[in-house]
Amino acid sequence: MTLALELALIAFVVVTAVFAALLRDVLGSIAVFAAYSLGLAIIWVLLQAPDVALTEAAVGAGVMTFLFLLTIAKTTRPDTEKPLKQVDLKAFVVVAAVALLMLTTVPAMPEVGDPDAPPVSAEHPTGEQTPYSYYIENTYVQAGIENAVAGVLVVYRGFDTFGEAVVVFAAAVGVMVVLKREVLK
């Protein structure tokens, strides 16, 4: 049952991505991209990542779509006679080669949800404790935060979050410089 739901969601995500690539109308592409984002957000709920799902639904599907719509409102939307583009053969061959090469590595990956997979095992092969097990056992004890994602984000990896804030600030300055150069002179 769950597998059927997961496969249906994967099919939805892949189909929306294909339509985002093939639609000629940029507005249509943006709408399909928002649907793609929402599909991924639902997959993340199934993968027990509610924080990522919320952020994706709010930021990926919400803010991102708004930014794209703002851009085509300020620029142009190409005229379209036919709704779909032809597949470009050269680009397709290059991309298919990359995808096939990557697909050969799939059987070497741990199965989805495998409790012995390196990212979710309690010990390294050498017997040392993994960061995963450290965060699960200590976040509540050391930081008093029940949500381990928030705990790791602000306590253990606070500098990382600070760096993220710097990037956001730099991007905001960049947007202002690019769009209002006349004003700043």
């Binding site: 990542a49 851009t71 409790p115 309690a122 705990g151 993220e164």
Partner: protein, 122 residues
């Protein structure tokens, strides 16, 4: 062979979606569609990370004093992806600002047309 891929369906989905994003980056002549392709590409990598963090039968990473590994998904990839989503939006907004600027200067967003316009300038 098929079972191996079914058991790793999220990895297969990650590769397929990554390929579609790459295709959009290479093929699209329109600059806005290129940025959409870049975002599709980027989000497929997020799928790879959250899949790595998932453990069968485990809940979300909500912990208490008695928590043991194996009952929760790994919070670390989730944190990295939260950061990556926010950074991705910042970079997208900067890219779109550049797109708007290009349109103001050259009056087109089509790659081929843009090359013609730039070559025509003194």
């Amino acid at each position: 062979m098929i079972e191996e891929f079914i058991a790793r369906h999220y990895h297969v989905a990650f590769i397929v979606v990554l390929a579609i994003g790459l295709y959009m980056l290479i093929e699209s002549g329109n600059l806005v569609k290129k940025v959409i392709g870049l975002n599709i590409f980027q989000m497929s990598v997020f799928l790879f990370f959250t899949t790595a963090a998932y453990v069968e039968g485990g809940g979300p990473a909500l912990v208490g004093p008695e928590s043991v590994p194996g009952e929760h998904s790994n919070p670390l990839p989730h944190v990295l992806i939260l950061t990556a989503i926010v950074v991705g939006v910042s970079l997208t907004s900067l890219a779109l600002a550049l797109v708007v600027r290009v349109y103001r200067e050259y009056g087109t967003l089509d790659e081929d047309r843009l090359e013609e316009v730039m070559a025509g300038e003194p």
